[in-house]
Amino acid sequence: MTATDSSVATRPASPNTSGPRRETVFEAKDITKVYHMGEVDVHALRGVELTLLESEFLVLLGPSGSGKSTLLNILGGLDVPTAGHVMYRGRDLTTAEERELTDYRRRHVGFVFQFYNLIPSLTARENVALVTDIAEHPLEAAEALAMVDLADRLDHFPAQLSGGEQQRVAIARAIAKRPDVLLCDEPTGALDISTGIVVLEAIERINSELGTATAVITHNAAVSGMADLVITLSDGHIGSVRTNDQKVSARELEW
């Protein structure tokens, strides 16, 4: 394991880069985000740089308020930085219009949220169908749910599912469009250890089997063992960047 400490992410050599040359998915340059909350300005991000490659697994660590979610939302096209640029496969997301951002999210991004954000009035299958209805070459809803081991829960409503199951529905929903990037905001934050591991396994599988570039926010340092790349944020700065020589599978994680 190698680690560097710098406020700007200088990317250490990753073991993966030694293989066939992979394309850059995200390239963030000096992004800053300032929120105006009433009379105070909150600096959520202060000049963050990062690069994410195809099929890479990134874990973002950091205490709450460190800017993790803001960074993820900007990568996912849900938010725009106050300054700086984010390139997705060469396209500048920061200058994109709302319509283009929607299109970007629709075609390329799979989101998983801490509180699942399922539509309570729709069954598991229908929640996934929300995405397959509008995506271009989606998986079958049932197929996506099978990938997260929920083939027998297709017609259950969120209220009839456990927290872990709900989060897996959310993952199925995120991957059903065959996204190029999977962005997960504290996917295990509301779950206990064993359920959390089941959910992480699902994410791990998507990352390795579909080759989806994946970014996972967590404040649980143990999760970082799964990652190719671990970035720690604190107070809007990048605290540290390290790469894992030896990835651990989700099943082997302990916390």
């Binding site: 938010d79 709302e98 929607t102 999210r105 629709r106 949220f113 509180f115 954000n117 729709l122």
Partner: protein, 788 residues
Amino acid sequence: MQAINRKLLRDLWHVKGQAIAISLVIAVGVVMLIMYSSAFDSLHRSQTSYYERQRFADVFVTLKRAPLRLRDRIANIDGVAQVETRVVVDVTLDVEGLSEPATGRLISIPARRRAMLNDVVIRRGRYIDGTRPDEVIVNEAFALAHDLTPGDTVTAVINGRRRDLEVVGFGLSPEYIYTIRPGELIPDDTRFGVFWMERRALASAFNMEGGFNDVTLSLMPGAREEEVIQHLDTLIESYGGFGAIPRSLQLSHWSLSQELNGLQGVGQVVPLIFLSIAAFLLNVVLTRMVSVQREQIAALKALGYANAAIGWHYTKWALAIALTGAVIGTAGGAAMGNAMMTIYNDFFEFPALTYRLLPSVVVSGVVISLLAGVIGAATAVRRAVRLPPAEAMRPQPPARYRVSLVERLGIQGLLSQPARIVLRNIQRQPVRSLASVTGIAFSVAMLIAGTFSLDAMDEMMDVQFSVAQHQDVTVTFVEAASAAARHELQRLPGVLTVEPTRSIPARLRFGSRSRQLAISGLPEVPRLSRVLEVTDLSPVTLPPDGLVVSRKLAEILAIDRGDVVRVEILLGARPVREVVVADVVKEYMGLSAYMEINSLRRLLRESETLSGGFITVDPSRLDALYRVLKATPVVAGVTLKGAALESFEETFAENINVMIFFNVLFAGIIACGVVYNAARMSLSERSRELASLRVIGFTRAEISSILLGELAVLTCVAIPVGLLVGYGLAALVVTLFDTELYSFPLAVAPRTYALSTLAVLTATVLSGLLVRRKLDSLGLVEVLKTRE
């Protein structure tokens, strides 16, 4: 089905109570719209086709007597298409089973049927046989009122002799769609009948052979009505013409037009009120829904749903509710429009008054309700569209509260903790609270406006028949009589007092405006037929000189006290006089002009003449009086106060009750819709807070009092406002129904205020109980676990 639409359906199902409540409010608006528009359309269409088929005339005039040769000269007036000269006479009838005398109008028709103006439609039986002089066709309503069948006879007193007229057919004419005796305010099918009789038979009975006393004519397209009337009046002046009137002033047509105008006016205003309330309710519910679904919206946006798609999703909510309302409303409106036609069939005599619902009316109903839906949804939809997804992911910050105004008054110590919560919550959402107050107030107001017509009618009847009219019988002579006639009236059996009257036909002219009517000459302070200023019910003293006119007439002529009007007297030498308007009084019914009787006689250069009298009668001798009156040739008409009152109540009471039932129903729908929605909103927003209170030890009753207390406060504020607005709305109704025929008094009885308040309180309590049930089943643990 797309998953997002499935979400729509399930979400709607989840709030079905509120959705139905709003749909019903929309439905009520659409019912009104469809009912009034379709009734207007059906009535108007029936009128038009009836007029066309039966060749309803364009100009009408009566005269004393003119020779037949004048007919050609009339026909030669520029612009005249067809002329009909007739003999028209009013006679006293003695009808079997009716002790009092009735009035019959005899109208001449040709011996052999031909296409004439105001042609008669034979409803039953046949046309007259020209060789049998006693055969008549009678208007259907009179025949039905007396259970006549063809072959029955009716006795008419013609020139002092009783003559049996044989009914051979029942007929209708566009001239008598609304059959009312001139000078009266209320139709009375039992005591007024129209009879069509062979011309020579009728002429010989009244010395009209070789002459006529009535002209109707139709105009050529593009003819100038005013000019034709002027020509006609000049031509017949020397034959005692009473002044020609255009179709627009013909009594039956005019009454029907007043009704049509009323339908149109109400049909344009009332539905809008309901639809505005519905839009407001939709706005409240949908805004709440968007706020509840904040994170769902964020997720949908993150999944790649475009803003437009999200906006459309929530717009569809409103559209679904509006469409449901439109469908229910269209069905209801069609049913009520149809029912209205049945009512109109009692009022108006049409050969075929059929109900028709135009597709364009349905379309406009649907479009307007969808529009109301979209307007109601607008702010909520905008909020959903503008919701930044990244921000929506985070839980909503706690709502901002402040110490309430009431508390800052320094009585904080007096308020319990729950009372403070109630007050702060009302104050935190001033717009919503205000809107709820408006909604509740409006349902109170609706109830008042919908039911006060009973009070108005009571007041009108009371004023007209108890305060103003003290006579039992009104007798009208065929010709003005000398002073002796007064004594003869006095000598009739059972007569207690007699008040003479002199009434003359005249045309009042002021500037370019004119109106034809009867000027009534009455004693200085009439004791029997009183002239009242209805605003304070004070009896009016007729000044020694000058006219006293009703406010409605003053409006039509644009005259006021002190103006000098030209009075063209349509009698004898047809003198024209200038008379000053001495007073304008407000009356409830009809158009009137009064003069002190001697001053009127001076105007005519007459002395002591009278054209009739108002009399009071010993009730035990009424039948004897009627027997004499039926056989008195100089008596042209007899009006009985009791009969008029009875007939009025019969016609109106039933229909008014139906209207009131629906108004109460509709207002109830609004009250429930507003209150129930307000309560559900509060519950939805505050279930967490209330559950938390339960967890820390508050009882169910205590948390109910917090939630329902807010409703109670809003309702208490709303009711007085509603009473005020109701009075205003009643004033609006009075204005909308202010026709030349009636002007309804703005009289709202305390009973009406009390009942409206009670009805809304009931609706509030019921809605509160419904919500209370939900409150009792509040799952404490579940509520606390879920994140708002």
